[in-house]
């Protein structure tokens, strides 16, 4: 439960910062085997999370258009250079 909550709040910057921390800790060479394994597992998850975040969104450029009272979105094409 607690883990799920933490995951929801996880952001890219938090994940990256934690990953850097873990790697530095592992490279510090002071960890027990158990801790080392836990770090590796967590680090692997974080790499996966960050990589997912980088690719999660698809490229799309839209513009808001008014349809009566409602606002909708339509694909946007920048007008070619005129000057």
């Amino acid at each position: 439960m607690a883990e799920k909550k933490a995951e929801q709040k996880m952001t890219f910057e938090k994940a990256l910062a934690r990953l850097e921390e873990i790697v530095a800790e592992m490279e510090g060479g002071q960890l027990s085997l158990e801790k080392m394994m836990a770090c590796f597992e967590e680090g692997t998850e974080l790499v996966k999370f960050c990589s997912g975040q980088l690719n999660e969104v698809e490229r799309k450029i839209e513009i808001l258009v008014k349809k009566g009272e409602e606002t909708a979105t339509a694909p946007f094409e920048a007008k070619p250079e005129t000057k």
Partner: protein, 433 residues
């Protein structure tokens, strides 16, 4: 009639002569002056000189602005613009027409706009809208970006170019607005509110390209400032050029000098992120591998030493964890750690064996260490009948030569302390205490 009529008393001027006198008189009398009026009949000649009239409700004044004087001009001369012009009233002698020769020109609205700007700035500063504490940090990785600007300006094109070059898979939502003229400020404010209300965005860019002070004015209006202040999303303001500062710039969470710069400030290169992540992933596995090698050596050593017990449960635990780890890796490796997979698998198997040995050796080490610690503790020694004797200055007595007859000493036993006086001291060859 008092007017002299006789020919010999008349002072008769030639036309050219009187035009010249009039010109010199006019010029000397007035010198350089400022005149305020509205531009009309503005005509730019191919030579670059601009001819126009200055007018107000009652009168018109022919004027000229020569090309050579126009260097400092930073706005467009258009009919209807109110201006203040510095120059000299003079007469074009060949035609006897008098005109105003302009040397410098400023928009007449400037003074009052500047005042309005300062006034609003002071008011909003007092209301705390510029406080650093209320600036929201920009997300490191914004992937959904809202832009409030004109859909037809150069600004949107510049922003989109840079955004998509840096990070190809972004979602961009443009809220099209008028960025100058009547109603622009209200549109900009409403668009910001709308984008906030729609949700799903990470950050907003609000701005426009360069223009005159009047053109940028919407971004100096309180409605825009207030909308910026209540935006839940972080907002970057990007108005005009580097030298243009607007109220929006002070209220926004970050000011970008230009729209292009805003795009650069918001989104970092995706390739940089990927590289950094790749490096971290490599270090992660390398760290583990190196430690594994170290352990291997230490554990081999430990294996050779003394008694092991049967840590069956422990073995099962480790096996499970390694299996879990290998499953996790199997998935991950396909994306990031392809080359490391085999090595890690082998390592996983080895870990299973090492783990048993290591845990046991560690336990044994600890037991031995505890025993040694106990043996070394002064309490244990005192218990066996030894004692510690100190001189009055607290130094522990190790040599009979260090103590003289009559000196006071204290001796700590397993239980309690004995204070004594030395009967005979200072000689070698005696027993040590």
């Amino acid at each position: 009639m008092s007017t002299p009529t006789s020919q010999e008393h008349r002072r008769v001027y030639q036309v050219a002569e009187i035009n010249k006198i009039a010109r010199v008189t006019l010029e000397n009398e007035l010198g350089e002056i400022w005149i305020e009026g509205e531009l009309s009949e503005v005509k730019k000649w191919p030579s670059g000189h601009v001819y126009f009239s200055l007018k107000d409700k009652e009168a018109v004044l022919r004027s000229v602005f020569f090309k050579g004087e126009q260097r400092g001009l930073n706005f467009e001369l258009r009919d209807g613009n109110k201006v203040q012009a510095l120059g000299q009233l003079t007469i074009y002698e060949p035609k006897g027409q008098y005109q105003f020769v302009v040397r410098r020109m400023e928009p007449a609205g400037r003074g009052s706009l500047q005042e309005a700007f300062e006034e609003l700035k002071k008011k909003l500063a007092a209301a705390g809208l510029f406080d650093a504490a209320r600036k929201k940090p920009l997300p490191m990785l914004p992937r959904r970006i809202g832009i409030v600007t004109s859909p037809s300006g150069a600004a949107i094109r510049d922003i989109l170019n840079i955004l998509t070059r840096r990070f190809p898979n972004l979602y961009v939502l443009i809220a099209p607005v008028k960025v100058q003229g009547e109603g622009a400020a209200a549109e900009i404010a409403a668009a910001m509110d709308l984008l906030n209300a729609r949700g799903g965005l990470d950050v907003l860019i609000v701005g426009r390209g360069g223009g005159s002070l009047e053109d940028l004015w919407a971004f100096n209006e309180e409605v825009v400032a207030r909308a910026l202040a209540r935006s839940g999303l972080p907002v970057i303001s990007a108005v005009g050029h580097e030298t243009d500062f607007t109220i929006s710039d002070f209220v926004a969470d970050l000011r970008a000098p230009t729209p292009s710069a805003a795009a650069e400030l918001v989104v970092r290169e995706k390739a940089d992120f990927e590289k950094a992540l790749q490096q971290l992933a490599t270090r992660l596995t390398r760290g583990l591998r190196q430690r594994a090698l170290e352990w291997k050596n230490r554990l081999l050593k430990a294996e050779r030493s003394e008694v092991f017990r049967e840590p069956r449960n422990l073995a099962r635990q480790y096996r499970q964890r390694i299996e879990a780890l290998r499953t996790g890796l199997g998935r991950e490796v396909r994306h990031l750690l392809q080359r490391r997979q085999q090595r890690l698998d082998e390592m996983g198997l080895r870990f299973r064996q090492y783990a048993l040995v290591w845990r046991d050796a560690r336990r044994q080490d600890l037991r031995r260490l505890t025993a040694s610690l106990q043996a070394l503790s002064p309490d244990a020694v005192l218990e066996r009948g030894f004692s510690i004797t100190r001189r009055a200055d607290g130094r522990i007595l190790r040599d009979a030569a260090d103590v003289a007859s009559g000196e006071k000493i204290s001796t700590r036993l397993h239980r309690g302390v004995v204070e004594s006086k030395v009967v005979k001291g200072g000689e070698h060859g005696g027993e040590k205490s």
